[in-house]
Symmetry: C2
DNA sequence: CGGACTACCTTGCGCCACAAGACAATGGGC
DNA sequence: GCCCATTGTCTTGTGGCGCAAGGTAGTCCG
């Protein structure tokens, strides 16, 4: 009725993605030029099943506007609408490097905090 | 003018915190009862310098309302206003366990994606 | 021509970290 | 007794962003 806390991890993942989804796209683009539809696939292949295109396209647009990536169109080999490929700019490379450092500076401490307390031997009740 | 992209990692960390800050608090509480002011300290000690109380108190209130934690008041030994200590409930323990799993299921793939591409000399295990 | 498929983009919504500041309780200085 | 510094809690307004759902456009096939 009023309000339910998330019972599944789905809601959590949405929040977790926040600050790191752009880096994932950047990193994926760094490998080779990519187009929009590809990202959801690549992320799922990497272990992150999710991320509707409604999250990805606006983000790509923002990053392009910010000068981190640039785009060019190419016809789809499988028929259909032409694809819009994205490529990293110099600024994008720099941002990716910074972002990776940020992520590690964040994930390390978090992991440590989360495993600090009696995680094992399930011996607690309190 | 219109809009600037974040130049520092500070903005990013704010976003990264979403989805994991509650788990950190839960984990910290699991160690022993804690009060509000303590959390920012403990997080900073753990490597996460930040997190103003404006983020923490509302989150604690939300979690208490959700039945994950319970509180009791105790006078401050150092003079001043009484402290409000929080303790884990059974549901809180369960949520913490689930959350830890969620975090690992997320951080793993993300780390892998971010290190997939030629980070520098690019000679690692893939 | 019409349907199906590929691909891109937009709108409205809700969540939540944050900055800034108000409020409450205690103890010490005078 | 009164005032204020200290300790600590809580509230309000703001903004960014992931998401669901829906809409548009280009290409191919029957």
């Amino acid at each position: 009725m009023t309000k339910e806390l998330p019972t599944t991890g789905d809601q959590r993942r949405s929040q977790l993605l926040r600050g790191v989804l752009d880096l994932c796209l950047l990193s994926l683009i760094a490998e080779r030029p990519r187009y929009g539809f590809e990202f959801a696939e690549a992320l799922a292949a990497g272990g992150l099943e999710l991320v509707s295109d409604g999250s990805i396209y606006p983000l790509l647009a923002r990053m392009e506007r910010a000068g981190l990536i640039s785009s060019y169109r190419a016809p789809s080999p499988s028929g259909g609408a032409p694809r819009k490929y994205y490529r990293l700019t110099g600024a994008g490379h720099a941002a990716l490097g910074r972002g990776r450092a940020d992520w590690q500076a964040f994930a390390g401490p978090v992991g440590r905090i989360l495993t600090t307390t009696t995680p094992s031997t399930g011996e607690n009740t309190a």
